[in-house]
């Protein structure tokens, strides 16, 4: 191996790469814009939609209750509800979002209540439709409050204390620090996105530097120079790795900035902001990056090897596109609830990195797993790089026809 020649190849590949507009898109624009657009856009949209739904005065229909003026009057006083005239097609109206919900008041409700008889109020709503759920909740809250007031007045009429139906209270307190909460919620996503983008960032240069060269006819030109094949493949490999790491780095920067900006007070509701508070320090970011490094080496070497088999750019694309799914599946698996690191999973590439990144963001450092994963990933990466060098020495691959 001649380091000077590896450097010469790398500099030349870098020059060509930086002059390619497609590079700007796949390596810089995609990771920088993916988070603001996907995450922030969705968060804003959800916040706006929920806010709008919450503020909306829900149109609801009251079925029956003509003989119970007391409950009807109280219902009409609820500020979040707008009572509409009763019709028979209330189910259709709910389905078609003309009204949000309907409530069926049993016959003789007021009188039965005063006599202390058992009766049921039925609420109709549309499951999965957020505005219908809000309408249902408003009605539900009204009737529960009303029921409580009836219970209190009955107790006081009999001179009984309120504690007779509520002998004790239950409260809950969260002991997890904020970074743990955010780690569990979106920490998995950070590792997943870094892995996915370090893969997608490597695809285009890997194709361009192998099948692209074959197609353009420059492979034979470079092979006729005194450059050793191992130096050629290493120069190309370092460029693909640079692209992969640049994409991963920009994705972390973009994600951090997006969450920081959205999480600031006043940008969205306090409830939403609290959920988005990411307590990620520089050491966490560096740790995630360190864990992703051997994986990026693995991707760069594997993609170069596979793309080298192809004769044309298109053929290489058809080989590498399914690779994205191979990466996505274990990365998604790590996001599933209940999937946690153990010694067996620590040996599964991609899945192990995604899982450990989730833990690191959540503030947990299981050093035994971290070292095992780093060791395993480094071995996989070295094997992939070895195969890539071997492939560049095979005439049947370089001159496949």
């Amino acid at each position: 191996m001649n380091l000077r020649n590896v450097g010469i190849v790398y500099r030349k590949e870098l020059t060509e790469w930086l002059r390619d507009k497609r590079t700007l898109v796949s390596t810089v624009l995609v990771p920088l814009l993916a988070f603001p657009i996907i995450m922030v856009g969705m968060i804003f949209l959800t916040t706006v939609m929920i806010g709008k739904a919450e503020k909306e005065k829900a149109k609801v229909m009251v079925l029956g209750g003509e003989d119970s003026p007391q409950i009807l009057e109280k219902l009409q006083q609820v500020s979040d509800l707008q009572i509409v005239p009763t019709t028979n097609d209330y189910k259709r109206q709910i389905s078609e979002k003309e009204i949000r919900a309907a409530v069926d008041i049993p016959k003789g409700f007021d009188n039965a209540l005063s006599r202390g008889e058992d009766q049921t109020v039925k609420i109709y709503y549309y499951e999965g439709e957020i505005k219908s759920a809000f309408g249902r909740d408003h009605i539900d809250k009204f009737f529960k409050d009303y029921r409580e007031s009836v219970v209190s007045s009955r107790l006081s009429a009999r001179n009984l204390p309120a504690s007779i139906i509520k002998p004790f209270d239950i409260t809950q307190e969260n002991v997890a620090p904020p970074e743990k909460v955010s780690g569990a919620a979106i920490g998995g996503l950070l590792g997943y996105m870094v892995i996915l983008l370090s893969m997608t960032g490597a695809i285009y240069p890997a194709i361009d530097l192998t099948a692209g060269e074959k197609e353009r006819g420059t492979m034979e030109t470079i092979l006729s120079s005194p450059l050793a094949r191992v130096d050629l493949v290493l120069g190309k490999f370092f460029l693909v790795l640079s692209a992969s790491l640049t994409t991963a780095f920009l994705s972390i920067v973009s994600m951090g900035t997006s969450f920081y900006l959205v999480g600031r007070p006043g940008v969205i509701s306090d409830k939403g902001a609290a959920a988005l508070q990411l307590h990620i320090g520089l050491s966490t970011v560096l740790s995630v990056f360190l864990m992703a490094l051997p994986l990026a080496v693995l991707f760069a070497a594997a993609l170069l090897t596979i793309a080298l088999f192809a004769k044309t750019y298109k053929e290489a694309q058809s080989y590498l596109t399914p690779m994205t799914f191979i990466v996505v599946i274990p990365a998604v698996a790590s996001l599933l609830p209940g999937v946690e690191l153990n010694y067996k999973l620590a040996l599964v590439p991609i899945l192990s990195t995604s899982l450990v990144c989730k833990e690191i963001v959540a503030g947990t450092f299981h050093w035994n797993y971290i070292l095992l994963i780093l060791l395993a990933s480094t071995i996989y990466a070295a094997a992939a790089l070895f195969i890539a060098v071997k492939m560049f020495q095979r005439e049947s691959v370089l001159f496949r026809s």
């Binding site: 060509e16 390619d20 034979e220 005194p226």
Partner: protein
């Protein structure tokens, strides 16, 4: 200077089984001489030249190029060879100067020597007008000049040309032919393959006729004319490979 010793190349083909692309080919080319390798498409010319340039490794036999064995010292062989073919394209996103400098560096030239060499070649080939233009913006003629500059930058004593004028217009082809002739005057040993017989007559000191991977006839142009009683080189080739061609056609039918 260039000595092929029983060069052979076999490869496996899914349909045809084992194929002998080049079969026991031997010839010699001295410095200041041009050796023309002639034959039909698929005869084995490109494979032979690729083995001499160490782009492919021989299955059997070897070749000595400028004192180095193509099997044992491929990198040293390549450092002493300039290889040009219609398949050796240019990097589209590099400028003409960057491309030539890249190959100069890969050939181990230091920056001072490289600058002097590049300036000299660009002046000689009248390339200064487009030295900073990207290769994908160059005309065919400019591209050929840049390719020539690439092969010359390390001043190799051996030149290998594989059908260098195929598909080129008259003026561009002329530039190449003049360049090859110039190389001979500078004392380089040159191997040259072509389908254009006027180029053979003008350039080649001796020729070898290859068919089905085998070298069937060899000699200077006057020698071959006398041996086959034909003036026209095309007719000589037909006479050399004709009987075999008929046989193989008969086998097919």
């Amino acid at each position: 200077m260039i000595e092929a010793r029983g060069l052979s190349k076999r490869f496996q083909d899914k349909k045809r089984g084992e194929v002998r692309a080049v079969d026991n080919v031997s010839f010699t080319c001295q410095p200041g001489k041009i050796y023309g390798l002639l034959g039909a498409n698929g005869a084995g010319k490109t494979t032979t030249l690729r083995m001499l340039a160490t782009i492919l490794e021989p299955t059997d036999g070897t070749a000595i190029v400028y004192g180095y064995d193509v099997v044992d010292d491929p990198e040293k062989v390549r450092a002493n060879v300039g290889f040009l073919s219609t398949a050796t394209a240019l990097y589209p996103r590099l400028t003409a100067q960057e491309l030539v400098e890249y190959f100069g560096r890969l050939n181990g030239l230091d920056e001072t020597t490289l600058k002097k060499r590049v300036d000299d070649i660009f002046n000689r080939l009248e390339m200064n007008d487009f030295r900073d233009r990207r290769c994908d913006k160059l005309s065919t003629g400019m591209k050929q000049k840049t390719s020539i500059a690439r092969t010359l930058v390390h001043d190799p004593p051996v030149m290998i040309f594989d059908e260098p004028t195929t598909g080129l217009d008259v003026m561009t082809a002329r530039t190449i032919i003049n360049f090859i002739s110039d190389c001979r005057e500078r004392g380089k040993a040159i191997i040259f393959s072509t389908h254009i017989m006027s180029e053979v007559e003008r350039l080649c000191d001796s020729i070898g006729i290859i068919h089905d991977g085998k070298l069937l006839a060899e000699g200077t142009v006057p020698e071959l004319r006398a041996k086959y009683a034909e003036h026209n080189i095309e007719e000589i080739i037909v006479k050399v490979i004709g009987p075999l061609q008929s046989k193989s056609e008969a086998r097919v039918s």
